[in-house]
């Protein structure tokens, strides 16, 4: 009883004075279900950041609360975000693997006075939905545009585009098409295939029949990429000299052990490779690898989450731990730092991350494992998708 009274007294006395708080960050992502691996990477990135930078900002302790959405489900996302805001009292919303999940939660932000840091969802338009959205991942436009230049410069003139028939796939197709046609190349055919495709042989037949010199592909990372790449090889396209271009989702590091030799030599453009050579990345990979358990499971959502936490820490610093979304977002506009992926900046206008995009080639390391080897850098790439939408 006495203790309670003292505690109460202490609470009263401390009110009004600057004091140590717990600041909660709500992270929404796919932690179970078909995309559990990507959610696990979110957590690894966050854990790594907190392991390297401590779990306090000033006097405030940071606490991360996770909520699971196994697959894209905007209604559930909105309900969970709302719950995080009003019940758990989170000051920051973060995570969001899928675009619709992020979109669904944006209407809450202004009313709730909460910034959202998107750690993955890659459709350009998300940042336009609310002034409180900041993104530390990438957009499909951003990662797919440079590969068009790579393809053209490599001498390929006729390309067939093959993408999964959903939002990001359509984005990738449009980005590649815009870039490749602007350079002077020709898209001989654009195929959209259902997300649920198990056997890609007929698609390979289509590619063969199209007479294209190269193929641009986009599929969500995971089991289907394996089938796609294997079919590409088994149907003799690789041997037949058809060039393969894709954004890096297709050769994410966690899929490489399964893809194995089939992926060898595939060229992709992406914002992050686990093999990136820098001191920042070295310590990141070490910390994140420890957090995730098996370092082979490490993939790009981890770096989005890592940098997302960096932005959130900066926001907390700027606001002194007080809930002020406008001030927080203002503080990180134009913020530059050295990320594990290389130098990055939050673009002041779009609140999207400006970063290097790398051309990589799947290579075999001395120990027999496969990795994305960075061979070319496209510096300071913004998001062409926003401009294209206008």
């Amino acid at each position: 009883m006495k203790h309670v009274a003292i505690a109460a007294l202490a609470a009263v006395l401390m009110g009004g004075v600057a004091h140590a708080d717990t600041i909660k960050v709500g992270v929404v992502g796919p932690f179970s279900g078909p995309f559990a691996l990507q959610g696990k990477n979110f957590k690894a990135g966050i854990d790594a950041y907190m392991a390297l930078n401590g779990n306090t900002v000033g006097d405030d302790t940071i606490e991360v609360i996770y909520r699971d959405i196994p697959s894209a489900d905007p209604a559930q996302s909105k309900a969970l975000s709302q719950e995080l805001v009003v019940k758990e009292g989170v000051q920051y919303l973060a995570g969001f693997y899928f675009t619709p999940d992020a979109m669904a939660a944006t209407p809450l932000l202004e009313q709730a006075n909460v910034p959202m840091v998107v750690m993955n969802a890659a459709t350009s338009a998300i940042v336009t939905k609310s002034p409180y959205v900041v993104r530390t991942s990438f957009t499909t436009w951003q990662t797919s545009t440079p590969i068009a230049k790579v393809a053209f410069d490599g001498g390929t003139r006729k390309v067939i585009s093959v993408v999964s028939d959903y939002g990001p796939g359509v984005d990738a197709e449009a980005a590649f098409k815009a870039g490749f046609e602007a350079a002077g190349g020709e898209i001989v055919e654009a195929i959209r295939m259902p997300l649920q495709t198990n056997d890609f042989s007929p698609i390979m037949q289509r590619i063969k029949d199209s007479g294209a010199e190269g193929v641009f592909a986009f599929l969500p990372s995971g089991p289907t990429t394996l089938g796609f790449v294997k079919a590409f090889n088994e149907n003799g396209l690789k041997a037949g000299g058809v060039k393969f271009f894709a954004p890096g989702d297709l050769t994410q590091e966690s899929d490489l052990p399964a893809l194995g030799e089939a992926a060898l030599g595939l060229t992709t453009t992406f914002h992050y490779a686990v093999s990136h050579d820098s001191a920042e990345n070295k310590s990141f990979v070490e910390a994140a690898g420890k957090a995730i358990g098996d370092p082979a499971e490490l993939s790009f959502p981890a770096v989005g989450a890592y940098d997302g936490m960096h932005v959130i820490y900066k926001m907390i610093e700027a606001t002194g731990g007080e809930p002020d979304a406008a001030k927080a977002v203002e503080a990180v506009k134009g913020l530059s730092w050295e990320s594990p992926r290389g130098p990055v900046t939050i673009d002041a206008e779009s609140r999207h991350i400006t970063q290097n995009i790398y051309l990589r080639e799947v290579a075999k390391a001395d120990d027999g494992t496969y990795y994305n080897k960075e061979v070319q850098t496209f510096e300071k790439q913004g998001d062409p998708g926003l401009a294209a939408a206008k």
């Binding site: 995971g222 089991p223 394996l226 088994e234 052990p257």
Partner: protein, 287 residues
């Protein structure tokens, strides 16, 4: 013309993969009358065992396949005794609830134990090489799967139609009480059939892993496909399942070649059309 042949080969291969993976489900659903939504889970367990054996222990492929089949059966025996035995003869919806529950558990455990990444089963060199058919190349593995499908179809047909056990099984299915009265140990018959079905699931999981890669969500991801081909064929009928797999494989493959953007429409419209014409499935018996 060459394209037609080429598509034909793809269709045959895909149909056979479907057949090998789903025939076990046809046994549980048709002969044992259990809507076994955990079929994919058993296939996945087989895949994990084979992957572990071949990749981590470095065992030979054939040995890994055997280990997967018998390992999965071993795991399934207590599951059958403790859980499945309680739902034989229960309403379908109860069976759905139980087997979905089992599937959830298996997914969760696989995710915990093996992690969420894709697992491959290294195939021997001889199965990896492309084989030339004259007008195109096809991976040796595909031919291997086609052979496996044919072997499973024949073996199972012989087992059910020509062996003493098959007679007991069919008797138990038609009239369990009568079969029991004639001295058939229906419990044993059911247990053996369950083991066979699970073994087939594991075998299919391993052999089909090149097309349907092993990962924790495997158990649910392909469940609908299995359910559809088995029901379209007419549960419990081997020729029916074979016909359904080849037919749907052909439609799916052709559809995805001709109009990839409408691939799903092709497949499911075909399913509706087939069921419309054969409301009991291709080989459905009046019941």
């Amino acid at each position: 013309m060459q394209t037609v042949f080429s598509i034909g080969v793809d269709a045959l291969a895909y149909g056979m993969v479907l057949f090998v993976i789903s025939i076990g489900l046809s046994v549980t659903m048709g002969l044992m009358r259990v809507v076994n939504l955990a079929h994919g889970a058993f296939a996945m367990i087989g895949g994990y065992i084979a992957s572990y054996a071949a990749r981590d222990l470095g065992l030979a492929y054939a040995f890994a396949v055997l280990l997967a089949v018998f390992g999965t059966i071993l795991i399934a025996i207590p599951v059958e005794r403790l859980l499945y035995r309680r739902i034989y003869g229960q309403p379908e919806l109860t069976q759905v609830l139980m087997t979905i529950g089992i599937t959830f558990c298996v997914i969760g455990i696989a995710n915990y134990v093996f992690g969420p990444t894709l697992k491959t089963i290294p195939t021997p060199e001889s199965l990896r090489a492309p084989v030339s058919l004259g007008f195109r190349t096809v991976s040796a593995h595909r031919l291997f799967v086609i052979a496996c499908g044919a072997a499973v179809a024949l073996g199972l047909w012989y087992f059910i139609e020509r062996t003493a056990f098959g007679v007991k099984l069919r008797a138990s299915v038609d009239n369990a009480a009568m079969a029991a009265a004639l001295g058939v140990k229906t419990e044993v018959v059911y247990a053996v059939s369950f083991a066979v079905a699970v073994g087939l699931a594991a075998f299919g999981g391993v052999v089909g892993a090149e097309l349907l890669p092993i990962e924790p969500y495997y158990a649910l991801r392909y469940m609908v496909t299995f359910l559809v081909v088995v029901s379209v064929g007419g549960a419990g009928s081997i020729p029916g399942a074979l016909a359904a797999c080849l037919l749907l494989g052909a439609i799916d493959t052709t559809g995805r070649y001709l109009m990839p953007e409408f691939g799903e429409f092709f497949f499911y419209l075909a399913v509706i059309a087939i069921v419309w014409i054969f409301p009991r499935g291709l080989a459905g018996r009046a019941k």
